[in-house]
């Protein structure tokens, strides 16, 4: 009987359990749909006067303070320019015959109050060098400090500043060349007794200045650079070209920071000058500061800079066509280091310092092998603004075949899918499908849009994270080869995500052969402890990247893959040490360019590519909309998008993560960027224990309405403006932008949170209108 009771209790228990399970499951059946839109924008109009936006122009007529004097002799001239030299000081002058404005290669009218002697000599010299001396006693270079020699010397007495050629330390020979002049210059040993130097020490080089139809070209043949018992550290060529004094003139300096940034001529809040390398920081020289709470610093992704001296009057854009990866922008706004000038130029750096094994100071033994080629393209009258700069720069790139040819670009929406991602499992990571191809198709059907630029992430067996560079095998749970083929046929622009620069342990790279070492001879690896799964990745030797890419080429074709979305390769650029030989960033650049060239038969989409890869770019993802907004910047401008418009498809960053939707959507219209989203079919919460855990809103279900709403606005805009060149961008009032296109179409954007009346038409708060005709 006792056993019967036991069995009875057992059966009863099971019944209760089954019932409980019923309730439990039922509780999960229904789902909730979200609706609604976003709230109003900023309450504060203070915002629009800050450097997040472009400021209203003031126009005064600028009179050139620099003049051609009797000391200046003509070197060459053409229809637009006269090119002169003062042979006593080596200062070159360029007269714009159109406007009468004179640019000087160095400060020719120096005042004693302009700067201290040290900086005065630098800005008053056409060419200067900084170098390390050779300590004959210790038989080594003194790399802890540098010395500087300028072409000219400055002596001050009272208010007077007298400029003289530095004949003690510089031997200079002028050689006339076609349309220009060549400086054959030798920087001799220092006679300063404080520094013991070999009397035979010198640095010599040749710098050619050639007058062209657009301005001056600087050319330094690499083989002309000779170093004898000296290490050349920095070479300054015309660092103060186009300088202006204090805030006497309305104008600005332009930096390619993010989309573009301006520093207007006014007393700067910066106490110091800023030196910034083009492109990202070079990890090959050693690890940089790690602060995971910071957003990545926006890189100078194009090797150019410019100045406008009088908006709509005079200006220039300088393009560094060769050796940009060895150039550093020198920004000196008025007031920095008490210099009463605004100047902006570059210096070329050689023999970078680093810490061997993170402990001993050492320097790069070799020198970069490219010649230096830099162009100063002069802007006059209506060209003299940042839009003019962008157009001139674009023309220049096109002339040199550094941009893809202009083509008809359709309005598309960039949609990325996280197909599968790796999640923490009991023993090892397991692959979880978040959006398979069928679901991706369904999602795309729900968006009222015909053309897309689609990126599939996690299409491979290994899943999205922790597996780059991927083993090229399709994830069957995402879709089969025939599914892929069908998907490709249906949507045309489908890009498969991969990364040939950053390698994780589960990827296809070999950790012994392929993981790169920095100049320090330490593996270039980055660890982020906050990642739930894969915390460390290594940079690959560019040669290994190329090897893996080559290997994958056929596998892509075999798997019906026609488009590639390549991460990192566009914006990472590091020097490295392979087999005890140092290779600088120039070398890395060449490998990366070769990789992209080898993928010629594929459609290539890159994330934030630097200028040297634009030629190989069909699609540009994640175009920045904000500069670094350093306190001495005054404006943010859409320089980059004006340069690239109509040469490639340009998309903004994921709209999912915008925290000020209205303002940012308007900015996309203003900057001519197409929309971009990242979606999953599954709950975003599924990403919590994956390396994608920072993507906190991806589920399409929540976004469907918003995507369609946004798409309507963008369609209306792009229908009218696609293929139309932007010819002017005017700031009508604080927060009101007027973009004028070639077909006389005007787009007026009202960033304010109050309506604005434009020619009798009311533009609602945080809205834009399109006005056709005159």
């Amino acid at each position: 009987m006792a056993s019967s009771i036991k069995k009875f209790i057992f059966i009863l228990g099971i019944t209760v359990l089954l019932l409980g399970l019923g309730i439990y499951l039922e509780a999960y059946e229904s789902d909730q749909e979200f609706e609604g839109d976003f709230g109003d924008l900023y309450a504060s109009n203070e915002l629009y006067s800050g450097n997040r936006f472009t400021q209203k122009e003031l126009s005064d007529v600028v009179q050139s303070k620099i003049e051609i004097t009797t000391r200046d002799s003509l070197i060459s001239e053409n229809a637009r320019f006269g090119f002169y030299i003062d042979r006593t000081t080596g200062i070159l002058k360029l007269k714009n015959k159109n406007t009468g404005y004179v640019y000087s290669s160095a400060v020719s009218d120096l005042k004693s109050t302009d700067a201290n002697v040290l900086y005065s000599q630098l800005i008053a010299s056409t060419i200067s060098v900084e170098f390390n001396t050779f300590d004959t006693e210790k038989n080594r270079y003194v790399i802890e400090s540098t010395s500087q020699i300028n072409m000219n010397k400055v002596t001050k007495s009272g208010d007077e500043a007298v400029l003289k050629a530095n004949t003690d330390q510089v031997e200079l020979k002028y050689v006339t060349i076609e349309n220009g002049i060549s400086f054959q210059i030798k920087f001799l040993a220092l006679k300063d007794i404080k520094i013991k130097e070999d009397p035979e020490a010198y640095i010599s080089l040749e710098v050619q200045f050639i007058l062209g139809s657009d301005g001056i070209e600087i050319f330094v043949p690499n083989e002309s650079i000779q170093e004898n018992k000296r290490l050349l550290k920095y070479l300054y060529i015309m660092p103060s070209f186009g300088y202006t004094r204090e805030d006497v003139l309305n104008g600005y300096m332009f930096l390619p920071d993010g989309p573009g940034a301006l520093i207007r001529y006014e007393q700067s809040s910066s106490p110091q000058q800023i030196y910034r390398k083009f492109y990202s920081s070079d990890l090959g020289l050693g690890p940089t500061l790690k602060d995971y709470d910071r957003v990545e610093e926006k890189a100078l992704s194009a090797a150019c800079f410019g100045k406008v001296n009088g908006v709509g009057q005079n200006g220039f854009i300088s393009s560094i066509d060769q050796s940009g990866m060895n150039a550093e922008l020198v920004v000196s706004p008025y007031g920095a280091r008490n210099i009463r000038m605004n100047y902006l130029g570059v210096r070329y750096y050689f023999h970078s310092n680093f810490l061997m094994y993170g402990a001993t100071s050492d320097y790069e033994k070799g020198r970069f092998k490219d010649d230096i080629r830099q162009n100063y393209l002069i802007l006059s009258n209506e060209e003299a603004n940042y839009v003019g700069m962008a157009k001139k720069y674009r023309d220049h790139l096109q002339k040199n075949e550094l941009l893809p040819e202009e083509k008809k670009i359709d309005y598309k929406m960039h949609v990325e899918f996280i197909n599968s991602e790796n999640i923490k499992g009991l023993l090892s990571p397991k692959n979880k499908v978040l959006t398979n191809l069928e679901q991706s198709t369904e999602i795309l059907k729900k968006i009222n849009q015909e053309k897309f630029s689609i990126v599939l992430k996690g299409w491979n067996k290994g899943g999205l994270s922790g597996n780059t560079p991927y083993n090229i095998s399709l994830n069957g749970k995402v879709g089969s080869k025939s599914d892929i083929r069908k998907f490709n046929e249906q949507f045309q622009d489908v890009y498969f995500y991969n990364d040939y620069v950053k390698a994780y342990s589960d990827g296809s790279a070999n950790s012994l052969k392929d993981y790169a070492k920095s100049y320090q001879r330490i593996k270039m690896s980055i660890t982020d402890d906050s990642m739930p799964l894969y915390q460390t990745f290594n940079y690959l030797y560019p040669k290994s990247s190329q090897k893996l890419a080559d290997k994958n080429l056929k596998q892509y074709q075999k798997n019906a893959i026609g488009g590639l979305a390549l991460d990192s390769i566009g914006y990472e650029l590091h020097s490295y040490n392979q087999n005890s030989a140092e290779h600088n960033r120039e070398n890395t650049k060449n490998y990366y360019a070769d990789i992209l060239k080898s993928f010629e038969s594929f459609k290539r989409a890159l994330y934030r590519p630097n200028d040297y890869l634009w030629k190989y770019t069909d699609v540009y993802y994640h175009m920045p909309m904000y500069s670094n907004q350093y306190s001495f910047y005054t404006d943010t401008v859409p320089f980059l998008s004006i340069v690239l418009k109509d040469s490639m498809e340009i998309y903004a960053n994921y709209i999912n993560f915008f925290s000020n939707m209205n303002e940012q959507l308007l900015r996309m219209i203003d900057f001519n960027l197409m929309p971009s989203f990242i979606f999953t079919e599954e709950l975003t919460r599924q990403l919590k224990y994956t390396n994608s855990n920072h993507m906190f809103t991806t589920q399409f279900e929540h976004w469907e309405d918003t995507v369609n709403e946004i798409n309507l606005r963008f369609k209306a805009f792009y229908e009218k403006t696609l293929g139309q060149e932007l010819i002017a961008r005017n700031i009508l009032e604080m927060g009101i932008v007027e973009n004028v296109y070639k077909n006389q179409l005007k787009v007026i954007i009202n960033y304010l949170n109050e309506p604005y009346v434009y020619q009798g038409k009311t533009i609602e708060a945080s809205d834009f209108i399109i006005v056709e005709g005159n």
Partner: protein, 685 residues
């Protein structure tokens, strides 16, 4: 000079060389990332909440002169007149900046020497703490001095101690709460009539175990040195309800840097809150939300109840990056959630504006904490659209659903936010509704089940000699592993006999013993992965096999090894094999009954949680009793001897762990040494 230039260049390039970032998703035009906490109190990224828009440095005075911000130590925003009060310590005056943030007037110039703290009452009396003059001055709206408070005359204030007022707040009764830099006892309370009421809101000291042990073994002289004083509050603010928030710097106790004190000085916030021991200033926002700035430049925002909403900002010594600070000193906020944060190194006040996202969060929280759950639903939904991993929004939305009696959705969102009490409440309701609806079906199923059982039993279908089920069961029992497995059940009923069988009759093989260990592991895994949400320890992804092995199996194996060694010396009779099998057999109650508890936990709520906890106590207690008898009988010891052996075993276990730890540390040092030598040789060679 050149050296300095190089150094400076290096310094600047260091400042501008940030690391490559793995998470370059955001493009909101801010230099920092914004974080919040999830339900496990882990810091997780979220949408940007505030944007830095401008820096204030100079203001125009009505006489045409310019006043510059200099060492600003305190600030306040008057939302009625839209004026920003800045305690400009460097120039010894209080600046009142007008709404346009361009012009300012000044109070106290000439009189004040080192003003450190200010407070503005609702009737526009301005209280100013002057550190050097050791007084709290009161000015009226016209800037005239109307009152001053010196050092309180009271025995608690010794003759020699100084009155160094740093910060002050004043309640509706005009009682002053002064942070006195001269003492560490807490906040001095002084009435309008200058009567000293005592100290308020002192902090506590938490004695660690190490401290207690050291204290116990110290001489009287040493003890004197060990005495510690509590750290005094560093800054304070007062909210609409007259409750005082304090912050304390350098506190070692997590969760005690920010406090909300009730009338008797007790902290109203939960102890688990995320904070920092470098808090500099605290300010109450428009909906009772609390802003705190940390000396490393981070700005924390909490809701009224101390839930962390956002952390953002950071440190930057160059002063060039808006939104980051070198040495932040004070924070204040207007009624539009616009923040003003002062920096004493850059001498600036940075202005931040809220984003769409934080506006939505504020709106939702406002309704939520007012109990207007229904109105909070829509903003919470919008918040969740922008960040589906924002757990506070999940809780808020779940509460709204619970209020609307939509228990299914409430359950879903409570689960997403890991809110167990809320989940349990919703589940209880769902279960009740379900039970009411389906009671008749349950009764029918139960009746049919019971009826069926009796019928089957009556005709001996299950256990009759001819029944196929019965035959099959019998045949199974003859299989050796099945028989050995059956020992688990026997062990429960007759533990001592079974132990005898294991030891002398070898009824359980080592192989089966290993299977039992696997079973044990599976049972623990099952309980961690399949317990009902209310009883589980969190998401399934957090379960780690290695952790389970480390917590359960490794101590067991260590115990077996140590016990065997101790017993071998102490004339124990069992072999290693016996202890190995006997130990796992002792945990039979866990293996057999824990899964049942796990299954039951899925249908129970908080109200019945005692069933689970009580069940766990029984099965684990039972197991340890069996373990005791296993040692006693297997080794053939007396009870007292067994206790001794167990204690000795535990001691040996501790020593073994310590020895392994020591070996680990030493080998790590050796590794480090060899690595350094190689690197040095490579670098020099």
């Amino acid at each position: 000079m050149k050296k300095y230039i190089l150094l400076l260049t290096l310094l600047i390039s260091t400042i501008f060389c940030f690391k490559p970032n793995l998470r370059a998703l955001e493009d909101n035009g801010v230099p920092y990332k914004t974080y919040t906490i999830d339900s496990d109190n882990h810091i997780v990224p979220t949408q940007d909440a505030y944007i830095p828009v401008k820096s204030l440095r100079n203001f125009q005075k009505s006489d045409g002169t310019t006043v510059t911000i200099n060492n600003p130590q305190d600030s306040h925003y008057d939302i009625e007149k839209n004026e920003l009060y800045i305690c400009n310590t460097g120039t010894g005056e209080i600046l009142i900046v007008s709404e346009n943030l361009k012009t300012a007037r000044s109070i106290g110039k000439g009189l004040l020497k080192k003003p450190m703290g200010i407070f503005l009452t609702k009737d526009y009396d301005l209280y100013v703490c002057d550190y050097d003059l050791e007084k709290v001055f009161v000015f009226n709206q016209a800037g005239e001095l109307i009152e001053e408070y010196g050092k309180p005359v009271h025995p608690l204030y010794g003759e020699e101690s100084k009155f160094k007022p740093m910060k002050v707040v004043v309640d509706d009764r005009k009682t002053l709460y002064v942070i006195d830099g001269g003492n560490a006892y807490g906040i001095a309370r002084i009435t309008r009539e200058k009567e000293f009421l005592g100290f308020f809101g002192a902090n506590y000291i938490k004695a660690s175990l190490e401290y207690v042990i050291r204290f116990m073994f110290s001489t009287a002289e040493q003890k004197k040195k060990l005495y510690r004083q509590p750290i005094a509050p560093y800054n304070l603010t007062i909210d609409e309800n007259g409750l005082i928030n304090t912050i304390t710097q350098g506190t070692e106790m997590e969760g005690s840097a920010l406090k909300k004190l009730n009338i008797s000085g007790n902290n109203l916030y939960a102890h688990e809150m995320v904070d920092s021991n470098g808090f500099e200033d605290v300010y109450v926002g428009p909906i009772g939300n609390i802003y705190v700035v940390d000396k490393r430049g981070y700005i924390y925002e909490y809701d009224r109840d101390g839930n962390l909403l956002f952390i953002f900002g950071g440190q930057d010594s160059s002063g060039l990056i808006p939104g980051l600070f070198a040495t932040p000193s004070t924070i204040t906020c207007d009624d539009q959630y616009q923040l003003f944060v002062a920096d004493t190194k850059d001498n600036t006040i940075q202005v931040f504006i809220p984003t769409d996202f934080s506006n939505l969060v504020h709106e939702a929280i406002y309704y939520y904490q007012e109990g207007k759950y229904h109105q909070s639903k829509e903003p919470w939904q919008k918040v969740l659209k922008m960040n589906q991993m924002f757990d506070l929004a999940n809780t808020g939305l779940a509460s709204a659903y619970l209020f609307e009696q939509d228990y299914t959705n409430a359950l879903k969102y409570f689960k997403l936010s890991n809110n167990k009490p809320g989940y349990s409440d919703s589940y209880l309701e769902i279960r009740n509704v379900w039970m009411l609806k389906n009671f008749s079906i349950i009764a029918c199923i139960a009746a049919v089940g019971i009826g069926l059982y009796f019928v089957l039993n009556k005709f001996h279908v299950l256990d009759g000699p001819k029944s196929s089920v019965g035959q099959a069961m019998k045949r199974m029992k003859t299989q050796p592993y099945v028989r050995e497995f059956g020992y688990l059940f026997k062990f429960i009923r007759h533990p001592l006999n079974s132990l005898y069988d294991i030891k002398y009759n070898r009824k359980v093989s080592v192989f089966t013993g290993i299977i039992f260990y696997f079973l044990f592991l599976l049972v623990i895994l099952f309980s961690q992965m399949s317990s009902g949400f209310y009883f589980s320890s969190g998401d399934i992804e957090k379960v780690s096999l290695f952790q389970i092995i480390g917590t359960y199996l490794l101590p067991m194996f260590l115990f077996i090894g140590c016990n065997y060694l101790v017993c071998t010396i102490k004339d124990g009779e069992a072999k290693l094999r016996d202890v190995f099998i006997g130990t796992i057999c002792s945990f039979t109650p866990v293996i057999l009954f824990s899964p049942i508890l796990t299954i039951f936990s899925n249908v129970l709520t908080a109200n019945e949680s005692f069933i689970i906890s009580f069940g766990n106590i029984i099965i684990w207690g039972w197991s340890f009793i069996l373990l005791f008898f296993m040692i006693k009988d297997m080794q053939n010891y007396e009870t007292l001897e067994t206790i001794k052996i167990i204690l000795l075993t535990i001691f040996t276990m501790v020593l073994t762990v310590a020895a392994f730890y020591l070996i680990y540390v030493l080998s790590m040092q050796l590794y480090g040494f060899i690595k350094d030598v190689i690197l040095e040789v490579l670098a020099r060679g």
